[in-house]
Amino acid sequence: MIKKVLVILLLAVIGFYLVDLLAQIPFGEKRDNVGDYYLQESVQSLKVANAVTGIVVNFRGFDTLGEVTVLFLAAMGLSSIMYRKKKKGDKDVRAKKPSSRILQVGVQIIFPMVVILGAYVFIHGHLTPGGGFQGGAIIATASLLMLITYRKFKVNHNTISWIESIAGVVFATLGIIGLIKGMSFLENFLPTGELNALLSGGIIAIIYVSVGFKVAAELTGVIDTVLLNNKPDSNNENN
């Protein structure tokens, strides 16, 4: 009881200071000129229509490389924590009865549409809102739909490993080619086309396509690992 009162007191103090700080920041005014510089450069020198994509892949592309690394580490750590060899007394974790008829027929119609939507989102990442991370998450949701509906659907972990590794190597290689040519790491060396065309922006489109493949493969592997790990018997718990 005393612990809850102390926690509420601490939260009141933190809340008071937060409100006092945020009351001095007026809502909706221009703060500085960094955004103007990026918007101008994105139209004139880079010729990519989506300014946020231009910032994420080209102006601050090194942070995207770090984020891709963090996702890779998380997927690796998760599958190594939940790894268990198949022992004799393990129970089967799939459902015992087949799913209903409506679900099976509906998934047959919806699954190709969702995959095409995900591919559209990460291919046109530099023209419309979207990009690699969004498209990869949409494709992972589609594979989750298949895993729930059909009991015999298996995901081949070997294929997923190969797709993920090759996509990561493509990203790093494009950066190193910039170094070989004498410019900085991840420099834009292909010719930029005109605004609002599909082949514009140099290497931005290629990087986002490889990031889309990588994120889709990783999240599918994560969902498959968590959904299908073997449940131990209730008697032997120390594994």
Partner: protein
């Protein structure tokens, strides 16, 4: 943005109400679904603030993938918080 007053107020009440409900309730399945509703409300906030990329990312990752990982964790552990007779019965006869 002045004619969006009523949807903004409804969104604020929905988000904060779902957050309070997720912390107070004792059935963990209800808490997880409330977290999904919070992500949905945040995605609509990002749309009102003219940020379509962020709204797409929050809707794809926060609503679908986070909820499914929470539900799989509940399936492998208990469903009710604290001492509840459902937890003890589940330990004896795991299906």
């Amino acid at each position: 943005m002045i004619w969006l007053i009523i949807p903004i107020i409804v969104l604020v009440l929905l988000t904060i109400g779902a957050a309070i409900f997720a912390v107070v309730t004792k059935n963990l399945l209800y808490a997880v679904v409330s977290t999904g509703v919070i992500s949905l409300g945040l995605s609509l906030f990002f749309f009102i603030l003219q940020a379509p990329d962020v709204a797409l990312t929050e809707a794809a990752i926060g609503v679908a993938l986070t909820t499914i990982i929470f539900i799989i964790t509940i399936r492998n552990t208990t469903q009710y918080e604290g001492d509840h007779k459902e937890n003890k019965i589940e330990k004896g006869a795991k299906s």
